[in-house]
């Protein structure tokens, strides 16, 4: 975890309302792992006050990247950054996705701004010789970026209006895929997901209903104070002896069966 000042390499539209921000990432800082995030202080002004968390969506030689959506004050300000501007960063933070066990096939399911970390994870998995199935859900095709994916990734877009790829939810898309690919048995999969809570919850319910249930990893979001484990602000409800876990420390990636999906509530996503 480093507090560093990086330089913007590019900041450009990736899809409708989404931008991709690439910035310098020093050799001397730990290489961000898929699932990890950073926080950005978007301005020196007291408004917006808090640093904002964003997941890494890619990294490369001396750079790292996030994919973000213009939502409110901070992300709108981010949208104004230009090549050469300075960025106040804290990262990499949090845990990361673990490789599939027992040679299971990785299935990565992203929705909305949850796309970033699963895209990054799919590239890393492909580079490691896995053949990830990548499902990206969106309302319509305008919300799905042009992905310059490496070979070895099976990419299935799913749109609510059918304007691109599968017509339906990501869960239906996955079900449909499994039906058409009997070899890809549920018991042989390991699922990774990042996206709106309702999507991840639906995925969890569906997955629990399968026999045997495949492991499902979910990357959670929660409004953050410190992002380093100090303030206890970013918790999610979990099953187990402690009722809460910190997204910034124990997460953002959790075993979906640990999450108390009833207690997730807050529909900010």
């Amino acid at each position: 975890m480093h507090h560093l000042h990086a330089t913007v390499i590019h900041n450009r539209p990736a899809a409708r309302g989404y931008l991709s921000l690439r910035f310098s990432w020093p050799e001397t800082s730990p290489v961000p792992k898929p699932g990890q995030f950073l926080t950005i202080r978007v301005s020196d002004s007291p408004v917006p006050l808090l640093r904002r968390p964003f997941a890494f969506s890619d990294t490369g030689d001396g750079w790292a990247e996030i994919l973000y959506e213009k939502r409110g004050t901070a992300t709108t300000l981010l949208g104004g950054l230009q090549q050469g501007d300075s960025l106040d960063l804290l990262g990499p933070l949090g845990n990361s996705f673990s490789p599939p066990r027992e040679h299971r096939r990785p299935v990565l399911i992203g929705g909305g701004i949850g796309m970033g970390p699963v895209l990054y994870w799919s590239r890393i998995l492909a580079a490691q010789g896995y053949r990830p199935l990548l499902i990206i859900g969106a309302r319509d095709k305008g919300l799905i970026p042009d992905l310059d994916l490496p070979r070895g990734i099976d990419f299935l877009p799913a749109t609510d209006d059918g304007s691109l790829g599968f017509h339906g939810t990501v869960v239906d898309c996955l079900v449909n895929y499994l039906e058409n690919h009997p070899e890809a048995e549920h018991g042989n999969l390991e699922l990774y997901s990042c996206g709106p809570n309702p999507m991840m919850r639906a995925l969890h319910s569906w997955s629990r209903g399968q026999l045997p249930p495949a492991p499902l990893w979910v990357s959670m979001e929660q409004t953050m104070g410190c992002a380093v484990g100090a303030c206890m602000g970013c918790v999610v409800k979990v099953h187990g002896e402690k009722p809460f876990a910190r997204v910034c420390m124990e997460g953002p990636v959790f075993d979906s069966s640990l999450i108390d999906w009833e207690g997730v509530g807050h529909e900010y996503l």
């Binding site: 007291p46 408004v47 917006p48 640093r51 106040d88 409004t223 484990g229 303030c231 918790v235």
Partner: protein, 309 residues
């Protein structure tokens, strides 16, 4: 450029400098060890410790406000035994003064927690949080009544010779009466302010943005409120006052020192800029040298701080 002695005395304790980190915003130190040099802190005030572990409030617990934030963490902590086991070994070895922030619902809780820690996890001193607005039972009423503040202070005083700092709530009609009660009952210092009671509402979902409805407001928005409190309290008591609330920059900290504070705490600013404390200490030092102020006491000559003992 004259020389400046940054040391601060609180009871029997000498802090190396006036810049501490506020309870609840710095965990137990380890969370920030990769980001700042902990030996540069004048004091580290831990997250509140209660007798028994507390899970804290439901989510969401944090929301941003104009130039501030609301929290309703609700004293989430591992309890006095958990603290002793999990946090104490690390804190004991830290190169800065560590003050344990105590919380509870009843006077009895405070006494038992302090007794337990005196025996099992002795650190540099105690800050008594009588004023957390995020706990329903007791806490709020405790810190707003001078008689009860005096009583809890007296009881804790019996149980420790270490610095005893009473943390004051701004959510009262007359903060000076509370401060005086603490002073008379034997507190070594008071710290102010804790968070203001605040609320925001999600108009889309028509419900509060915090699970608890109201929460505690901190950050730059409350800077003027903290300064007014410290200014008033400094003219009412002669024990040291530790100022906090909205400090982001050295200039803010200097305002607190001029208002009468002997030390300050940086809270929310740690979230925004983990290197805030270093920047602030440097700024205070530069200012003192430039203005020919030889010690923290010298800051107090301009706005009429009540003479210190």
């Amino acid at each position: 450029m004259s020389t400046f002695d940054p040391r601060v005395r609180i009871g029997s304790l000498t802090m190396t400098n006036p810049v501490g980190v506020a309870s609840g915003t710095f965990g137990y130190g380890s969370e920030y060890e990769q980001l700042i040099d902990l030996s540069s802190l004048g004091a580290l005030y831990t997250k509140a410790v209660t007798l028994e572990p507390r899970p804290g409030n439901n989510i969401p617990r944090i929301v941003e406000t104009p130039a501030g934030m609301l929290n309703s963490i609700g004293l989430a902590n591992v309890g006095s035994r958990g603290f002793t086991r999990e946090k104490y070994p690390y804190l004991r070895d830290l190169p800065c003064s560590v003050i344990v922030n105590l919380a509870g619902s009843y006077i009895e809780d405070y006494c038992q927690t302090l007794e337990y820690l005196e025996e099992h996890a002795p650190l540099a001193g105690y800050e008594v949080n009588l004023s957390c607005p995020n706990v329903k039972c007791g806490g709020m009423a405790l810190g707003t009544d001078p008689a009860q503040v005096a009583e809890v202070t007296r009881e804790l005083r019996k149980r420790t010779k270490k610095p005893l700092i009473i943390k004051l709530s701004p959510n009262v009609t007359d903060i000076t009466s509370i401060a005086k009660a603490a002073e008379e009952a034997g507190a070594d210092a008071v710290s102010c302010i804790n968070t203001l009671v605040g609320m925001l509402i999600d108009t889309k979902h028509k419900r509060p943005l915090l699970s608890t409805g109201t929460g505690g407001l901190s950050g730059p928005a409350i800077l003027p409120v903290g300064l007014a409190a410290v200014y008033r309290v400094s003219q009412a008591v002669s024990i040291p006052v530790i100022g906090l609330g909205g400090i982001m920059e050295a200039d803010h900290a200097i305002q607190y020192l001029l208002a009468g504070a002997s030390a300050i705490q940086v809270g929310t600013a740690n979230f925004v800029d983990p290197s805030a404390t270093a920047r602030i200490l440097e700024g205070i030092t530069d200012y003192a040298r430039r203005e020919g102020l030889a010690s923290i006491q010298d800051f107090h000559q301009f706005l009429g701080r009540k003479a210190q003992l």
